[in-house]
Subunit: 187 residues, 2 copies
């Protein structure tokens, strides 16, 4: 037989891996199915054996994003995490970065499936922060939500401004702000 039994599954993973990166680099509307499939080493026609539509791909790409992933964020303390998140490196490499910093505004205008996948992602993100803070309750803490918003907003604006000095200053101010937002008991 011409295809191994897990061939389809591997193709699907390749498509998702390409999609996650390219969507974050260029936005949903700036990416065609041809772009994603070409990056994954296939052609457009084969796409529909894996996903129903472009919107379906978007939802699955988002659902497969994890703040825990292969990134080097595991054992660091929260301030170290914030140093990496609110950094020039993260600013300059959106494709390997956080989907919230790259896609939040397009998601706000997307369908329910996509917004649900994003909501779940944000929950996982905030849970990571709460773990750093020592909060192990069920509900997300206000501190975690505020720190997340600070980091996401900062990286976004640092990417958008045209002035390198202002971009650097935004990042610096954002890192400081995370410190100010730490609850007093979490030192």
């Amino acid at each position: 037989m011409p295809y191994a039994s897990d061939h389809k599954q591997k193709s699907r993973e390749k498509i998702l891996t390409s999609a996650r990166r390219i969507f974050k680099e260029r936005g949903f509307d700036g990416v065609t199915i041809d772009d994603v499939m070409g990056d994954a080493g296939m052609t457009r026609g084969g796409f529909y054996a894996h996903f129903r539509s472009k919107g379906d791909l978007i939802a699955h790409a988002l659902a497969s994003e994890g703040p825990d992933e292969q990134k080097p964020w595991g054992a660091l303390e929260l301030l170290g995490f914030a140093e990496l998140y609110v950094s020039a490196d993260h600013r300059d490499r959106p494709g390997e970065g956080c989907p919230a910093a790259a896609l939040t505004q397009e998601i706000a205008r997307s369908d329910d499936e996509t917004r649900t996948a994003y909501t779940d992602f944000l929950r996982r993100f905030a849970e990571v922060i709460d773990t750093y803070l020592g909060n192990d309750g069920n509900a997300l803490s206000d501190d975690a939500l505020a720190i997340m918003a600070q980091m996401v907003g900062t990286v976004q604006m640092a990417r958008a401004v045209n002035d390198p000095m202002m971009s650097t200053r935004l990042l610096k101010a954002g890192r400081q702000a995370v410190e100010y937002l730490l609850p007093p008991e979490a030192d």
Copy 2:
């Protein structure tokens, strides 16, 4: 003569007024020139008597955005300003709201003209905050930049999540965070 002498100028203003609102509601890519011109009461063909291209319109629409404008934000204190900015009303009415909360990510992927117009807008925005804080120096303060990032990031995520409870909690946490970010001397 069939047209008043200021007719062209008034048409241009109508186009810009429609563009500012529609772009913030649906994003640059989600809006066609037909949409803008239709909203302004004209047809597509007339557009190019006013702007060279869609990108040109985007840059001029952004350049004409002001945080000082006709909005009811004038005389309030900074916390009052933050209450209005980080509110359910602002979340639910992006068309009348801040361009940074609606367009930052698309701008990060736009041409230099657009990014320059955005950078200038952010400077004016941060200057308003610095005025509230009593900072009248030439450079923007870190506090103003951080408060701006907090507000912008919070409203964006509150718009994108699919869970009304989580959206409300994000707004509440974001408003609290602005308080924590106030410098100690500005009480």
